[in-house]
């Protein structure tokens, strides 16, 4: 089962970091007591979050050990015989390993490439002075976010159907030939990524808009007076102002690098497009849940998480080097 190793939440990390810094600067135990006595309310507020992470994100990790064992239900996690890296070897040697890895990486990279879209959209929205139109566009672009995956896939299937689908009717109207989008491996990635973008574009702008709202209007006024064009104001004031937000969100995104919306892939998958739609997560589901190979699928999931951590840590390192902004 895949772990949520990637989903470190920014706020929590910051909070614990500050608290820990305080505790460490003064000399240990006694000072800690004093410190704790003075700040216990803060710790109390922190407790629910910590408890949540311990219970749902850390304790389940002990189950990861079955990746190195031959899990037998009635012997339990500890009692099952140890087999070392057997499951990993099997996965690396398996016929579909390279295809799975390739598809997972390409799909992730493709999604990552679209990372700037919400930023551009937020900057554009921010420039809109006519309030009503701005509100309308925001609401319209938020709305798809609230549609569940199953419904979205139902819509995709209905729109792209080669016989009854709207898209193909339009293509045929303009003299083209009907395309079987859903069974063509070349189309899968575009369908998946752009339908995801359609769903999340508006929602993704929220944080940037909030950051943009914090830009000092005096700066903008001054730039205007100095004759800066609109584009120059965006390039030299707005973007630098939201840069820290961009970097943090980018790193967080990297943390979820391999965590592609697995349900949607599974729902859109069929034998004809699996050339490009077969990813590690769906493979884990097939072997783990459908075939009951718990140890093997845990090993595969662990492999995926390991890549995720590497990506996250290197993204953070790079961000710190390049921009001075980083998660930790």
């Amino acid at each position: 089962m895949p772990l949520c190793t990637g989903t470190v939440q920014g706020g929590e990390v910051m909070a614990t970091k500050n608290a820990a810094d305080h505790a460490l600067t003064t000399s240990r135990r006694q000072n800690f007591k004093k410190h704790f006595g003075a700040n216990w309310q803060v710790y109390a507020l922190l407790m629910p979050a910590i408890t949540y992470f311990i219970i749902f994100n850390y304790i389940p990790m002990y189950g990861v050990q079955i990746a190195f064992k031959d899990y037998i239900a009635n012997l339990g996690f500890w009692g099952s015989p140890f087999v070392g890296f057997e499951h990993f070897e099997r996965f690396f040697d398996s016929y579909y390993f390279w295809r799975l890895l390739k598809n997972t990486l390409i799909l992730s990279l493709y999604e990552l490439l679209l990372f700037p879209l919400p930023i551009i959209f937020a900057l554009a929205l921010h420039e809109l002075s006519y309030g009503k139109f701005k509100r309308w566009s925001q609401t319209l672009t938020y709305a798809p976010h609230f549609i569940s995956v199953v419904v979205v896939v139902g819509m995709i299937v209905a729109f792209l159907d080669p016989i009854t689908g709207l898209v193909n009717h339009i293509i045929e109207f303009f003299g083209g030939t009907s395309q079987n989008f859903l069974t063509d491996p070349n189309w899968f990635r575009h369908i998946f990524v752009w339908s995801g973008q359609w769903q999340s574009l508006g929602w993704g702008t929220i944080i940037y808009l909030a950051a943009l709202a914090g830009v000092n209007p005096e700066l903008l006024e001054a730039a205007k007076v100095d004759g800066a064009s609109r584009l120059q104001r965006i390039m030299h004031i707005n973007i630098p102002a939201i840069m820290p937000t961009i970097v943090v969100l980018f790193i967080l995104n990297m943390g979820n690098f391999m965590a592609i919306g697995f349900q949607k892939v599974l729902l859109l998958q069929n034998n004809l497009n699996s050339e490009t739609s077969d990813i590690i997560a769906t493979f884990v589901y097939e072997t783990g849940i459908l075939e009951g190979q718990y140890s093997f699928s845990t090993a595969v999931g662990l492999f995926e998480s390991a890549i995720n951590i590497i990506v996250l840590v290197s993204a953070n390192y790079l961000a710190r080097k390049v921009s001075d902004n980083s998660l930790w």
């Binding site: 009635n74 398996s94 299937v157 080669p162 050339e275």
Partner: protein, 533 residues
């Protein structure tokens, strides 16, 4: 220091969370004298002094939610003097709850309708968690024993690699063809008449019918929720699956008599060519590889298809247009093959009932369950109690009473009967038969279609049972075996759709051989020999 403390915490947590008992490795010695004293070997009640047992009960969404107080088991408790405490476990969490029960050491006396698969039965049987039933069946299960003796294929299908039987399965009455055929071919009678054509008898005539539907009527000739509905039906027309449908992809080579992986055979290629031709000429609905299941049912209900391979349209789609469809016979292929080979062995679910090593009354429990494989017990299980749920007519036929067929609360038959009986939802240890079972398989349209197919159905003694594997074999099959099967599944669809041209056939065969076909067949052959001996 801090690291050690952290480690301690982790270890304590771990131990605390995995406080699971180990499986007891004891072998079963047969019923105790104490039990036998209390047991009547024939007739009712089963036990003199009342005993109480705890059963794990898999609860399908459609069944009665509390079997502790339901007509069928209340009545049966009175007849047997055995009080069953049912632990109801809804299907959503059944695998989890089952594994928990099996892992925790606090086992129920038996698992009823718990969907245990062959590999679980083999595994827990070998570990001694489930008790071997061979001797108990001989002595205390006359009804079930008779079924096994009459139909060796059933005995083969539930015998594990160690030679023991650990479970009572859900079986279809081997005579009840309509239930065993599952999805069956239907053809649009209205259009057939409009075109002035006769019922297709060969694959060529079927092709002509489909072409006529497309060209003369401008309608969709064939539709389905997935392409394999059609290929499964056609297997036998191309001389494939000569040993039935229980084991996908393997059969007996008709020429050499050896085991064969038929997706690499020339016959299979020929079938793919045929189906590809249909798809290429748009005689199969273009979106069959991606169609939404409900969309298919809606289309079928609207009568939009010239032919389908599915369940009685009248029952599953719509009464109105569904009636246009009539059954189609098995088609004769290009080389004169005419056999419906997709039929599996009659075992529908192997692990419908198992007895655990915690059970102190195994003989009584075997007698308890055996009743449901006999005439009287099946009547109780599928029909209920005379005067309360069903009536007997003068001619001996039995039927449900009006308050069940015409529900006062406006419920469907299944919802109404679930108030009294537990069979809706399936998976139960008993035998589905034509006389007592009321379901789609027994609807007139289903029977009409299966009557047409029955003459060409593969013989029961030809059918290889679902193979069971040793732990070692399972490990190997889960490695390259699943890869091979996945590859075949993908390539089959690609050949049919034309995404891969059939000129690449040789490369496809070579690829499969490369993936370990030889080892794959060796495992299958070993399992087969073990099971058929």
């Amino acid at each position: 220091m801090r690291v050690t403390r952290l480690l301690m915490i982790i270890i304590v947590f771990g131990v605390f969370l995995t406080a699971c008992g180990k499986a007891e490795q004891q072998s079963f010695e047969g019923p105790t004298d104490e039990e036998l004293e209390n047991l009547n070997e024939t007739g009712m009640p089963i036990v003199e002094e009342q005993i109480s047992l705890e059963f794990f009960a898999g609860q399908a969404p459609a069944t009665n939610p509390d079997w502790n107080d339901v007509l069928v088991f209340n009545e049966y408790e009175e007849r047997t003097n055995m009080d069953i405490k049912w632990k109801m476990v809804p299907h959503d969490s059944i695998a989890e709850q089952r594994n928990l029960a099996l892992g925790s050491g606090s086992l129920p006396d038996a698992f009823h309708s718990a969907q245990l698969g062959l590999s679980d039965i083999a595994k827990y049987g070998e570990q001694g968690v489930f008790i071997p039933l061979n001797d108990l069946i001989d002595k205390y299960a006359p009804n079930f024993k008779k079924i096994l003796d009459d139909h060796p294929v059933i005995r083969n299908a539930i015998t594990m690699p160690d030679g023991n039987i650990y479970s009572f399965p859900l079986i279809s009455d081997p005579e009840f063809a309509s239930h065993r055929i599952q999805a069956r071919p239907f053809i649009n009678k209205k259009w057939l008449d409009e075109l002035g054509m006769d019922m297709p008898q060969t694959t060529d005539e079927f092709y002509q019918f489909l072409t006529a539907v497309k060209n003369d009527l401008g309608e969709v000739p064939f539709g389905g929720p997935y392409i394999s509905t059609l290929t499964q039906y056609l297997l036998g027309s191309f001389g494939l699956a000569t040993r039935g449908g229980s084991n996908s992809y393997i059969d007996e080579d008709p020429e050499t008599g050896d085991i064969r992986f038929y997706p690499v055979s020339d016959d299979y290629k020929e079938m793919l060519e045929y189906v590809h031709k249909l798809y290429d000429e748009e005689l199969i609905e273009n979106n069959i590889f991606s169609i939404d299941h409900h969309q298919f049912i809606t289309n079928l209900g609207d009568g939009k298809y010239g032919s389908v391979v599915w369940f009685a349209p009248e029952e599953v789609a719509s009464k109105e247009n569904g009636g246009n469809y009539i059954g189609m016979p098995t088609l004769e292929g290009p080389h004169g093959d005419k056999l419906l080979t997709k039929i599996g062995d009659p075992v529908q679910s192997p692990g419908a009932f198992v007895i655990t090593n915690e059970n102190e009354n195994p003989a009584s429990t075997v007698r308890w369950i055996d009743y449901f494989y006999g005439e009287e017990g099946m009547e109780l299980f599928f029909m209920g109690v005379e005067g309360e749920t069903f009536e007997k007519a003068d001619d001996g036929s039995i039927q449900f009473m009006d308050h069940i067929t015409q529900s006062e609360d406006g419920l469907t038959f299944e919802e109404e009967i679930a108030k009294y009986l537990t069979f809706p939802g399936g998976g139960f240890p008993s035998m589905v038969n034509e006389k007592f079972f009321q379901g789609v398989a027994n609807a007139p349209q289903s029977l009409e279609a299966s009557d047409k197919l029955e003459p060409d159905m593969i013989d029961d003694d030809k059918i290889w049972p679902t193979l069971t594997y040793t732990k070692e074999e399972i490990n190997q099959l889960q490695g390259f075996g699943t890869d091979i099967e996945k590859y075949v599944g993908e390539m089959t669809d690609k050949f049919i759709s034309g995404a891969e041209p059939l000129s690449k056939w040789d490369a496809y065969v070579a690829e499969i051989e490369n993936m370990g076909l030889e080892d794959y067949l060796e495992i299958k052959e070993a399992a087969l020999e073990r099971q058929l001996k």
